[in-house]
């Protein structure tokens, strides 16, 4: 009798563990955000921008994304070792200089990189917009970023109005970016 009970308990524990692992798997899949953030933004859903607070590369201190509410934001995810990022950087600096008086902030988020390399990159391309650093790249997963560069345009209420996967260097992409900036600043 006792043996039977022990066997039942062991079977119960085994089934419980398998069920727990299954629930964890389902939970991980359901709560995995970001993978479709770019798609949702480009479908016109205006998903809220995931929050981050990261150390700044261009000066002391930290930058919290939500502190920029009230302004439009062009958030560019990059790394110094990324070759297309080098093509794109001068254009982002140009966008910042052209639109900052309208209430637009360009923010560069450098991830999976050495700080020293990132600062050298910023000097080389004369980047003057705010730069933040996320060496481990913990913050970019929520944005669904799997490669560099990616660029997100946020409206004044912190919603993602447009996402660009890959560099914004073609005339078509540049035109799309300008339209998205106009939309972001009108919100």
């Amino acid at each position: 009798m006792a043996a039977q009970r022990a066997k039942l308990v062991a079977q119960g524990i085994a089934i419980g563990l398998v069920a727990l692992l299954f629930i964890l798997l389902v939970w991980a899949l359901v709560t995995e955000e970001g993978g479709d953030l770019a798609k949702r933004a480009n479908d016109g859903e205006l998903p809220p921008a995931p929050e981050f607070t990261l150390e700044r590369l261009d000066q002391e201190g930290e930058l919290t994304l939500s502190s920029l509410r009230g302004q439009g934001v062009v958030l560019n995810m990059w790394a110094s070792w990324c070759i297309p990022c080098k093509e794109e950087a001068p254009y982002l600096e140009q966008v910042w200089r052209e639109h900052r008086d309208r209430g637009l902030v360009v923010v560069g988020l450098d991830a999976k990189d050495f700080r020293r390399d990132a600062r050298r990159f910023a000097r080389r391309f004369d980047l003057t917009f705010p730069l933040v650093y996320d060496g481990p790249g913990d913050s970019i997963g929520e944005w669904g970023v799997t490669g560099f560069p990616e660029t997100f345009v946020l409206d004044r209420r912190g919603r993602v109005v447009r996402a660009f996967v890959g560099d914004v260097t073609s005339d078509e992409d540049k035109r799309e970016l300008r339209l998205a900036i106009d939309q972001a600043l009108e919100s």
Binding site: A6, K7, K112, D113, D138
Partner: protein, 149 residues
């Protein structure tokens, strides 16, 4: 006596060897096998991603500058976080990763021991057996009696 001399010689040689190895500069190949590329998440020696190549160069620079293995690892953790280590650290939160499997093995052994004990008790001699059905018992007796005739 001869055994003691041989043992002392072995200990002396081993001690000298370990003292020398402690002073040796770290080997890049060893470090590359113990550090993870943050992009492809394989060890550096198995990756040719751009950042992995950059990290390999950094390791060589630091070795040339005279840094120890720990100093190089600490510097890379400061840049890329603790996930850059292929094996978790043996202090702080990382210690859990080393202890939990041990706890699981000990816990599993305890559970198995308890189950074995419960099963062996269930089969102990003299344990109360369920009585036979009287009709069946009578039939068995009749069959045995017929067989003995």
């Amino acid at each position: 006596m001869r055994f003691a001399v041989v043992l002392a010689a072995i200990l002396l040689v081993c001690g000298t060897a370990s003292a020398v190895s402690a002073q040796d500069p770290p080997r890049a190949a060893d470090l590359e096998a113990e550090l993870v590329c943050p992009v492809c998440e394989t060890t550096l020696d198995q990756s040719n991603a751009l950042i992995a190549e950059r990290m390999k160069l950094y390791i060589r620079e630091r070795i040339a500058a005279g840094d120890t293995e720990e100093e190089i690892k600490d510097a890379l953790v400061a840049e890329f976080g603790p996930g850059v280590l292929a094996t978790p650290s043996k202090s702080g939160f990382g210690l859990l990763a080393w202890l939990l499997p041990l706890v699981a093995v000990v816990g599993g052994a305890i559970v198995v021991a308890l189950l074995v004990r419960a099963w062996s008790r269930g089969r102990a001699p003299g344990a109360e057996e369920e009585p036979l059905d009287p009709a069946l018992e009578r039939r068995v007796d009749e069959e045995l009696a017929r067989f003995e005739r």
